[in-house]
């Protein structure tokens, strides 16, 4: 880097931060550096750009303190009018996980996310970004920042009575969710999976209200069904949207014991037996058709949705009947 360039970049960083908040000298770092060592207010040189590091993204876990993801940095692009970006450093890991007592292999793969980013370029229901290949072929991803809450945060922040939620918020949420599910079906048709479908992996963009899928670097190994684990995630999200948040047996025990007394094992989620999916027993307003869709994810189900297309056929029909 030419010294003049460096000074110009530092000046831009100073202008962004303001003189009082700027360090005496900025540290310039590169993306092949250990991501743990890349720190707040460092300037990262990547490709033809310079990025000012503003912080580290966190993994939001339900009811647990946020966990920092040191390989994911919040930055501003110093050569693009301080546009907010997310930079994901190369971090590969393969490990064994378990769900409902079933063990399976998972991988966090930067290669997968880079591949999908290319495929979803221009698709409004997926996060957008580009990949900068580093030495040894490691893909560093520069993602557009999405300004808006996750679906989980949105539902938790509503604080409405259920009847009000059902009539005023649910129709619009369901419409946008259907579009978002259709996008996931499209991704599956491209031979890809999301790998970690959860309420906090959908962001609601404040600019247009669209639901956008984020964080598709996970892959899982399965012999029998390529899309089953993704379908499980979609079922959980649908139940959370219909129920204005996940409905647990613990909640019902504390708040509505008379409802809990009417529930059977078959009314709960097939994998997470503390979550209720037969939500019509909790909220009688829910139409029969919509509840039938949910029941495909229950412990009492005899038929499962194998594809998003199958799920959407029923869900769209149920939405029309609402």
């Amino acid at each position: 880097m030419e010294i003049n360039d460096k000074e110009a970049v530092e000046a831009m960083a100073r202008q962004y931060l303001g003189e009082d908040s700027s360090p005496k000298a900025f540290r310039f770092v590169s993306a092949d550096m250990d991501f743990f060592a890349v720190d707040y207010n460092d300037i990262l040189a990547l490709g033809d750009r310079y990025y000012l590091i503003r912080g580290v993204e966190t993994e939001k876990r339900f009811g647990i303190e946020d966990e920092p993801k040191y390989w994911v940095k919040r930055v501003v692009d110093l050569r693009d009018n301080y546009a907010k970006k997310i930079i994901k450093f190369c971090f590969f890991e393969e490990f064994s996980s378990h769900i409902g007592g079933i063990r399976f292999k998972l991988a966090r793969s930067p290669v997968k996310e880079a591949r999908i980013l290319k495929k979803v370029e221009g698709h409004p229901n997926f996060m957008q970004g580009r990949t900068v290949e580093q030495i040894r072929g490691n893909p560093i991803r520069v993602l557009d920042f999405i300004n808006g809450p996750s679906l989980y945060e949105h539902l938790m922040g509503l604080h409405m009575e259920y009847d009000e939620y059902f009539h005023q918020a649910l129709p619009s949420l369901l419409d946008r969710l259907i579009v978002c599910f259709r996008a996931m079906g499209w991704l599956h048709d491209q031979g890809e999976i999301h790998g970690d479908i959860r309420q906090d992996h959908i962001l609601i963009d404040k600019t247009d209200g669209l639901f956008r899928w984020i964080d598709f670097d996970y892959n899982y190994s399965t012999k029998g069904s390529r899309f089953g684990y993704d379908m499980f995630g979609l079922g959980n999200i649908l139940a959370a949207v219909v129920g204005c948040g996940s409905c647990t047996l613990q909640q019902l025990k504390a708040e509505r014991p008379e409802v809990l007394a009417r529930l059977y094992y078959e009314d709960t989620n097939i994998v997470w037996s503390n979550r209720v999916v037969n939500l019509k027993k909790v909220y009688p307003q829910i139409p029969e058709g919509l509840n039938r869709v949910l029941m495909h994810f229950s412990a009492g189900a005899t038929v499962f949705y194998e594809t998003v297309r199958e799920l959407l056929e029923d869900l769209e029909e149920a939405r029309v009947e609402m």
């Binding site: 399976f104 997968k112 190994s221 399965t222 390529r226 899309f227």
Partner: protein, 154 residues
Amino acid sequence: MGEPDPGKNILLSIDNSENSRRAIRYVANIVGSSGDYRITILNIIEDMGEDFFPSAAERQNYIEKQKQTSAALLAEARNIMREHAVPEECIRTEQVTAPSGYIAESIIRHAQHENKGTVVVGRRGISKKEEFLFGSVSSKIVNYAKDCTVWVVE
């Protein structure tokens, strides 16, 4: 050797499970020394794809190891057949690589391509929730195989 009756043209798909070994013995018992049957013993090598490996070399290394394990499995199956006096010329062994999540599809495709009238698999007996999350190879074969008989051995 002429073409056997399609029902006697058997695809026996195996893996490294005890139920799979039971399936081998079951087929060997039925076939015996008659010489009327043609058996292809198939082992699918699961290719988890580039996402599960930090480099292409490590992926290739993994596949090579899987091929060796597969070859040992097929040799073991052939031995079991031999012990049951199944004529050597009636047996063929084959390795096929299939992407993760598409094992059943690969078995069905193989059966169709080779005009197999009977498909035999072992069943692990997984729980309903495991079948929901990660699928069942044997259930998928039962549901989707066409123009053949499916034997599921437990």
